[in-house]
């Protein structure tokens, strides 16, 4: 089910596991570089096929969508009690959904932005790749160390 550990002793997740994780959550963060600065915005999202869609108001995210710039989409979950967590990152490009048919279909899905304002624009992130990492439970007892030792 998992394809081993990375150099930091974290479990690498398979693509299917990553998408399953994404589909099971609803809050993610869009990361993009704007004027040479990396920016991160939280968004409520949905998984639609093998892409990520979210609503937005006109602004930085939308302006970037117009340029089809490279973006990342990150979703994580931390479990304080067990000091474990999962982080999945989608790399891709984003664009605004312009097709009326597509917008109508997506509008029927439970895709709500919590933030107020006219968030009529729907942005889709088309993935180039997905990767996920999990902190193994009881990692210190498993003999898993950094550097893959």
């Amino acid at each position: 089910m998992v394809s081993g550990h990375d150099e930091h002793g974290l479990i690498r997740m398979e693509d299917d596991e990553c998408w399953e994780f994404l589909a099971g959550h609803s809050l993610g963060r869009v990361g993009l570089v704007h004027l040479d600065e990396p920016m991160v915005f939280p968004v409520n999202y949905l998984v639609d096929g093998r892409s990520v869609v979210f609503r937005t108001a006109p602004g930085t995210k939308l302006a970037m969508a117009g340029t089809a710039g490279p973006v990342v989409f990150e979703v994580d979950e931390a479990t304080e009690l067990f000091e474990t967590g999962t982080s999945v990152m989608v790399q891709g490009t984003m664009h605004e959904v312009m097709s009326g048919v597509e917008k109508d279909r997506l509008a029927k899905l439970p895709l709500h932005a919590w933030a107020p304002g006219d968030r009529d624009h729907i942005i889709r992130i088309e993935p180039d790749g997905v990767s996920g990492r999990q902190i193994p439970l009881h990692h210190q007892d498993d003999g898993v160390t950094a550097d893959g030792g």
Partner: protein, 147 residues
């Protein structure tokens, strides 16, 4: 400066002051580091952090994260959401990061859930701080004594 709280009864998006932003950042311990990469999307990695004044400190292996952030602009993002009330806040700090010397972090307890050698700490000196909060409408008592 906040979105005008007009007569609408819905939530409003409020811009927070630098002081408020750091108060909220200090209240949590997991954030995300974003490092810009040339012609590529940024790398976004969740980290355990502590706040030292206004400096964000996190542990990192001497691996990709630390190497990637040298001479690159870095951002640090923290958010909190309340799914029941559908409210929350998000703070974005942009700054300059460098690998801390032992003296700079000896007074801190910087945890990391990821096992292995985490001898190296990174300090992020903030330059710009921005934060937004979804403010829910207040329920006010009317002067007639009922809601």
């Amino acid at each position: 400066m906040s979105t005008p709280a007009d007569d609408r009864s819905g939530p409003t998006l409020e811009v927070m002051s630098r002081e408020e932003c750091f108060q909220l950042v200090a209240s949590l311990s997991i954030g995300r580091v974003a490092v810009g990469r040339h012609e590529e999307p940024p790398l976004v990695v969740p980290v355990n952090y502590v706040l030292d004044g206004e400096v964000i400190v996190f542990r990192s292996d001497p691996g990709t994260k630390v190497l990637a952030l040298r001479e690159q602009p870095i951002s640090f993002q923290v958010d909190f959401v309340d799914p029941f009330h559908q409210t929350g806040w998000s703070v974005l700090v942009t700054g300059v990061a460098y690998e801390a010397t032992p003296v700079e972090v000896e007074h801190l307890t910087v945890e990391s859930w990821v096992g292995g050698d985490k001898e190296h700490c990174v300090r992020v000196m903030p330059m710009t701080v921005s934060g937004r909060r979804i403010r829910l409408p207040e329920i006010r008592m009317s002067d007639r004594g009922y809601l």
